[in-house]
Symmetry: C3
Subunit: 265 residues, 3 copies
Amino acid sequence: MKRWEHFDYDEHDGIATLTFSRPDRLNSLTFEVYADVRDLTDSLRRRRDVKVLVIRGRGRGFCSGGDVDEIIGELLKRGTREVFEFAHMTGACVRNLRELPQPVIAAVNGVAAGAGAVLAAASDIRVLAESASFRFLFTSVGLSGGDMGICWLLPRIIGLGRATEALLLGDKITSHDALAWGLASRVVADDQLDAAVADYVSRLKDMAPWGLAMTKEMVNRAASTDYSSAIEMEAFTQTLLMTAEDFREFHAGFTGKRKPKYLGR
Amino acid sequence: MKRWEHFDYDEHDGIATLTFSRPDRLNSLTFEVYADVRDLTDSLRRRRDVKVLVIRGRGRGFCSGGDVDEIIGELLKRGTREVFEFAHMTGACVRNLRELPQPVIAAVNGVAAGAGAVLAAASDIRVLAESASFRFLFTSVGLSGGDMGICWLLPRIIGLGRATEALLLGDKITSHDALAWGLASRVVADDQLDAAVADYVSRLKDMAPWGLAMTKEMVNRAASTDYSSAIEMEAFTQTLLMTAEDFREFHAGFTGKRKPKYLGR
Amino acid sequence: MKRWEHFDYDEHDGIATLTFSRPDRLNSLTFEVYADVRDLTDSLRRRRDVKVLVIRGRGRGFCSGGDVDEIIGELLKRGTREVFEFAHMTGACVRNLRELPQPVIAAVNGVAAGAGAVLAAASDIRVLAESASFRFLFTSVGLSGGDMGICWLLPRIIGLGRATEALLLGDKITSHDALAWGLASRVVADDQLDAAVADYVSRLKDMAPWGLAMTKEMVNRAASTDYSSAIEMEAFTQTLLMTAEDFREFHAGFTGKRKPKYLGR
């Protein structure tokens, strides 16, 4: 297994965990962290032994986004092409996350700001500690609110009105609002965050992997097609699943009154 | 009027009512029920004398989805092409519902699971008894959460985050959550469900039918086009309505201080 | 500065304010008001000295939509082409609003009905007095609920289920529901509406204008493209902003511990 240098990374029992680990900087991102996130999420795509990816932060917060000194200060010295290469790389991180066949759980405590908020938004399930908050603060640094595809994603999660305001003004979204708006799956006391995440993980890792992967793919593809085509696409893909082994395994388990053991095919 | 054998069907005073009627199986669906739903919803398309369609279930629940024995067990014996024909048929049911010119009201009590939950979601208005719940449980049987176009529809109703979780995990969505998330129009005590549905029906059947039909069509078409084209499409179609008889009838009623009598043209 | 005859219009300190001013008719719209809204919103597009547009109504309500006598009665006398020209003109108003580079704030008290509700919905931020309500009542006058692109916009703000019901039935949406559904940014006591709007205005006018304009444009464009293209589009446009002067100004302000002074370039 490749060693990742710019965040903590752990794998065991089919569960991959990425932990941002610059707690003294509220886990702000550097060029190297972005590059490693991009490469890790790309490599997990082909890892059928990995069932779930969990993303979290060490210390008081999840991730405070691009570092003011190490990213912003540095970008101002670069030329247009190099700046674009950076923007392109950050986009690859969220594209990879959304295209991963495995479910991605963001375990968020404290600050999730800027790119940190976007990475959480691009996860499939967001479990929040009460201390968690989101801030899409790109306009606060003189930039466009549109970064890493968040102008596509956020309106589809919390609605166009709330998203427009959040992206224009960059105000803090509390864990309470996140739950009410559908930006959080669940909010728990800070000391219950690990347990709540473990609960999701243990359920997801025993489910049929191709079924989960296809669910993510259908949600992604249906976002950009018309209803009639989506219906037909789901008829095609569900036929793949209905003629695959795991559907047979479900039925054998059900009729045999035993827990099914899925193989992802 | 064709007799429908696999559910109860009633028409009177312009109101069509489909009642799933296998209460001993929580109104689970068989191949024959699907085929009849597809054919009924197709035939109502041309029935200008029918103003509203109500869908409901007999007994303790709305519809528990495809029957484990009669559908799942049987599908496992079939070849790929036959399985696809089934998936295609189920998709035709929801496509027809969404394309019906008449408003469709789902009156939901108890369980709406799997395909039953999808049929309710594809209705225009969902009136729920407090006992109602939704479960999109396709992944629980080893399949893809994407079935009958629900990966298109559900994110647009309750938001992408909640929908992703509901489709991945298949957890129960209570009537309380359904209301908070916009998946229910109204939640009432179980013994008030009939009255609440009757209230919607009586209002809708007196409204201008072409106006209602065009509203559904514009909502459907606008989902898959850009804003500027949608604006123009509505300018074209509203001009059709503004030069039609029912708009004149509204004005005559308004100035004559009488209730308008709409003709759907 | 052009004088606008059919509503009150004020500009000072970079803030433009349009006030519907037919309070005796609940600010109902006439052909002339629509034409002026279209022309004003078109002209503001090129006004880089204007930072924010506020839309409000004089008296007890925001805007009650097209006047029954002056619009509906008159339309019934016109031919198809002339009716279409009207529908096309109303659509241009909302298209212009959404395409304005400046943030648009609707300050809503009392009734926002029909086209008035659509104009508020097409604004970026909706600040509501408790007395505010929305009614999309097009079907109540025998027309299609699809008018001025609202069948595109409303489902993306409040979800497809709630929007379908609101557009079919035209029921009143209270300020309380508007807040819960994401159709309002904030609800305040009626006598606090001016202060709440002033608060938004004062924050927005000091932010980097190109960043705000690009945020609106990305939200608009991302609504009609796929996720991967949206990510890349934001990488392109964010590179424009990252190589522009205001990003440098942010950093200079941050490191110099002074407030940045943005120039919109």
